[in-house]
Amino acid sequence: MRRYLRLVRIFVGATLSAQLEYRANFLGAVLASLGEVGVALLGISILFGQPGVTQVGGWSFREALLVTGFFMLTEGVISVFIQPNMSKIAEAVRTGNMDFTLLKPIDAQFNVSTRNLNVLRFPDLLIGLGLIGYAASGLEVTPGGALAAAVLYGSAVVIVYCIYLGLSTTAFWFVKTQNVTELFSGVFGAARFPVAAFPVPVRFVLTFVLPVAFITTVPAQALTGALGGGLALASPLIAAALFLGTRWFWRYAVASYTSASS
C-alpha cells in the first residue's frame, strides 16, 4: 500500500512536469472552464427565469445549483483524473506499448489508471467546489449531511471511474473505443439537472439503468438532507459491485490479450 502511494507521487510528478512543457495552454484551458461554468449557469437560470417558475421537479434554484456544482466537479474529475488515463489504454493496445505495462512488476490496472493527469482542467474542480459551496451557503446543511454527501460523492467517483474503465477495456478487442466513451459523456450530460426534473420514465432509466442519478443528484440530496435511506445505501453498493465487476473484466481482458487471439 505504501509502495503504491509512493508510485502515485512519482507518477503525478512526472505527468505534472510533462505538462508544464505546455504551460501556454493554461490560459486557453481556464477560458474553456469559465465558458463551461458560464453556460451551465445560463442554462439553469433560463430554466428558473420563466414567469411563475420557482422550482423545477421540486428543487429550488439553490438546490438545483448544487446539482450543477456536482456536475461541474465531476466533469473536472473526469477530465483531470479519468479521461487522460483511459484514452491512453486504446492507444497502448494499438501501438503495442501495452506490452511494457504488462511487463512491469506492479498491478497493471493501477498502472494504467494513475499514470496521467490533465492539470489544465484543474480549475474545473475548483469551480465545481466553489459552486457547491455557494449553493450550500444558502441552504441548511448539517455536518452529518455534509459527511454523507462526501461519502456518497466518493462512491459516485468510483462509479464514473468504473464505467470509463469498463468502456475503455473493450479496446483489447475493438480498436476504436474513444467513441464509446463519447457516448457515455452524452448520457452524462443529463446529470447537469436533478433527475426529478425529467419525465417519470426517463427518471427511472437514469436511476436504475444508467446510474446517472447517483453521480450528481444523490450527493446533492444528501447535502440538503432530502435523501432517502434506500438510495443512500444503494450508491456504495453499486460502486462496490461495479468496481469488482470492472476489475474482473479488466483481468479477463488482460488474460485474453496474453493468450492473444490476434
Partner: protein, 347 residues
C-alpha cells in the same frame, strides 16, 4: 542438440515442446465479405510455434534467427509472459512466465526495437526515475547503474534533454538503459538495432556485450542485422515455421548451411561461368572477380586446379557469410512443395 549446455536444473531458460496456436478469422474483402463473415465466421487455427525446445545457461548469449513470421516474436513473448503458450513448458529464471509474478518480472526485460516506453515530453531521466519506483530499485544501486550505463552507452548530456528532441539512436540508447535499469538476469532483445545507423548499432552491441559480461546475464537476441548476431552470440538458434531447425555454434551453422566454402578469385583474364562451373557451384562472375562454392572436403584439390588451369592473380577461401547460409537454408526449404503459408506474428 540441446541438453549439453548446463544441467536442466540451473538453466536460466528452459523450454520444452513449446507450442502456440492462434485462431484466425478470415474475411473476404469488401462490404459483402464483411456481411458474410458477420453471419458465419470462418476461422482456423494457425500454429505459430510448434514444439520448440531448448535450454539457455546463465550468462549465455544466443542469437535467435529465422525468416519473418517464423515465430521468433511469438516465442519471445511467451518467454516474457506476454503470451500464454497453448502447450509445452517454459521456465525462465525458475519462474513460469505466464503467471507474471512480480518477482519474475524483476528478473527479466524485453526490448522491442520498434516500440518505446519513455515519456515523450520529458527528459529520459524522468522515465528512469519512474522505473526506479516501479522496480523498487534502491537509491545506491540506481546511482551505480546510472553511472555504469552513462559511461558505457555515452549518455552524458542526453539524459536531461526531452525524449522528443533526441535522435533515433539516442532514444534507443535511453530505451535500453530504461529496460535494463533494474539489472535483469534474463534479457530478451527483439530487433534492438532496427533502423539505427552503423555506429549506433555498434554501440548498442558493445553495451549489450558489456552488460552480459558484467552481470552474467542471459541474452536472447533476434536481429535482421547479422553483424549483431555474429558480434554477440556464439550460439545460434534458427527457427523456421515454428520449429527449431538449427541449434549450435555459429561456425557449425556455416558448415551445415552451405556445406561448402566460398572461393574468391581475382583473375588476370576473364573467364566464363561455364569454365568456372567445372570447379564448383553457385558461380558468380563480375568482370575480373569471381566467386564460387566448393565442397569442404575438396577445397585444396580444387584450389590447386584453379591455380593451375586459369590465370589467377589472387585466391582466397572463406566461410560463407551468415546471410548466404540463411538464404541457402531457407531458399532450399522454400522450394519444397505443399508448404503451409507463413503464420502471422501477433500484433
Amino acid at each position: 542438440m540441446t541438453g549439453d549446455r548446463g544441467g536442466a536444473g540451473d538453466a536460466a531458460v528452459r523450454v520444452r515442446d513449446l507450442r502456440k496456436g492462434y485462431v484466425v478469422h478470415e474475411k473476404e474483402p469488401g462490404f459483402l465479405g464483411s456481411l458474410r463473415s458477420f453471419v458465419s465466421r470462418k476461422s482456423r487455427v494457425v500454429e505459430a510455434v510448434r514444439g520448440v525446445s531448448f535450454d539457455l545457461a546463465p550468462g549465455e548469449v544466443v542469437g535467435f534467427l529465422g525468416p519473418n513470421g517464423a515465430g521468433k516474436t511469438t516465442t519471445l513473448k511467451m518467454l516474457s509472459g506476454l503470451l500464454h503458450p497453448s502447450g509445452g513448458e517454459v521456465r525462465v529464471a525458475g519462474f513460469e512466465p505466464g503467471r507474471r509474478e512480480n518477482a519474475f518480472l524483476r528478473q527479466i526485460t524485453l526490448v522491442m526495437g520498434q516500440k518505446q516506453q519513455l515519456i515523450w515530453d520529458l527528459p529520459a531521466l524522468d522515465s528512469f526515475l519512474v522505473n526506479q519506483a516501479i522496480y523498487e530499485i534502491p537509491d545506491a544501486q540506481f546511482r551505480a547503474t546510472m553511472a555504469e550505463f552513462t559511461e558505457v552507452l555515452g549518455l552524458e548530456g542526453i539524459l536531461k534533454k526531452q525524449v522528443r528532441k533526441l535522435s533515433l539512436g539516442e532514444r534507443m540508447k535511453c530505451e535500453l538503459a530504461a529496460a535494463l535499469l533494474h539489472r535483469p538476469k534474463v534479457l530478451f532483445l527483439d530487433e534492438p538495432t532496427i533502423g539505427l545507423d552503423v555506429n549506433m548499432q555498434e554501440s548498442v552491441r558493445a553495451f549489450v556485450q558489456d552488460y552480459n559480461v558484467r552481470h552474467n546475464a542471459t541474452v536472447m537476441l533476434t536481429s535482421h542485422y547479422m553483424a549483431d548476431v555474429t558480434a554477440l552470440a556464439r550460439r545460434i538458434l534458427v527457427i523456421d515455421r515454428g520449429e527449431v531447425v538449427f541449434d549450435g555454434d555459429l561456425a557449425r551453422l556455416a558448415e551445415q548451411g552451405g556445406g561448402g566454402k566460398t572461393v574468391r578469385l581475382q583473375l588476370r583474364r576473364p573467364a566464363t561461368p561455364e569454365e568456372l562451373g567445372r570447379f564448383g557451384s553457385e558461380v558468380r562472375v563480375d568482370g575480373l572477380s569471381a566467386e564460387l562454392t566448393v565442397p569442404r572436403a575438396l577445397v585444396s584439390e580444387r584450389a590447386a586446379a584453379l591455380l593451375a588451369e586459369l590465370d589467377v592473380a589472387d585466391l582466397t577461401v572463406e566461410d560463407p557469410s551468415i546471410e548466404s547460409v540463411m538464404a541457402s537454408l531457407f531458399g532450399a526449404r522454400a522450394g519444397q512443395a505443399g508448404q503451409p503459408e507463413r503464420t502471422p506474428e501477433p500484433a
